[in-house]
């Protein structure tokens, strides 16, 4: 599975990557573009080479910490409309505790480490970069 895509994310594909008869618990985290005020979509951009390397590191760390689990992530780039998924993480483990834990580990690592940025698009045609706290930092046409 491609870790970065410019196409809509299919959660069924993410699930298919991690399922297996020895893994009885599966968690899926899906992050979707939220309608904050007059936001019509969010444009995601990335330092793609570094993001891909960092994703491999994060998944490797997760695999090392939960060796019986299987975890995958896909992050979408480009302009994503409200309601569409920007990221999906699938995590499967023999039991639910580890499935929840590895899924949480990966999304928190994504937030802290992936070189990806958001630009909000508003209904009046303006755009604004978003800081990690969700606050616009600069406006433009």
């Amino acid at each position: 599975m491609m870790h970065l895509t410019r196409h809509p994310i299919d959660v069924a594909d993410v699930l298919a990557e991690v399922k297996g008869p020895e893994r009885g618990g599966t968690c899926v985290f899906v992050g979707t573009v939220r309608n904050d005020g007059d936001v019509t979509g969010i444009e995601y951009s990335a330092y793609e080479a570094m993001a891909l390397t960092e994703i491999e590191r994060i998944l490797g760390e997760a695999q090392a910490q939960w060796p019986d689990s299987r975890v995958i992530l896909q992050h979408r780039l480009g302009l994503i409309p409200v309601g569409d998924a920007s990221i999906a993480i699938g995590a499967a483990a023999p039991h639910r505790d580890d499935a929840f834990a590895v899924c949480r580990f990966v999304i928190e690592a994504v937030k802290k480490r992936l070189p990806i940025w958001k630009k909000e698009h508003h209904s009046d045609g303006t755009t604004a970069w978003v800081d990690p706290a969700g606050k616009p930092v600069a406006h433009g046409p």
């Binding site: 992050g31 995601y44 951009s45 990335a46 330092y47 080479a49 570094m50 993001a51 390397t53 992050h75 920007s86 990221i87 999304i107 994504v110 937030k111 802290k112 480490r113 992936l114 070189p115 990806i116 940025w117 958001k118 630009k119 970069w129 978003v130 800081d131 990690p132 930092v137 600069a138 433009g140």
Partner: protein, 82 residues
Amino acid sequence: MGKVSVRFFARYAELAGCTWSAVNVETPTTVAAVIARVREVFPGTKGLPPQPLAALNERQARLDAAVNDGDEVALLPPLSGG
């Protein structure tokens, strides 16, 4: 004198007016010294924070990390993936 590639992303690319450039600096040097040179070459980058997040050769790096001829320094706005 060495040549260091510099990459700008997201809002920082708008400040710099480009996504990529190369600067001439005495090497070996540090990430901080490369950023100082960038501020001289690209006036718009004076709006960067005093200590921006940076990557060296595709890995997050401290500002005192050593930079050599041919290395790539990237200036990263606050990360907001997910």
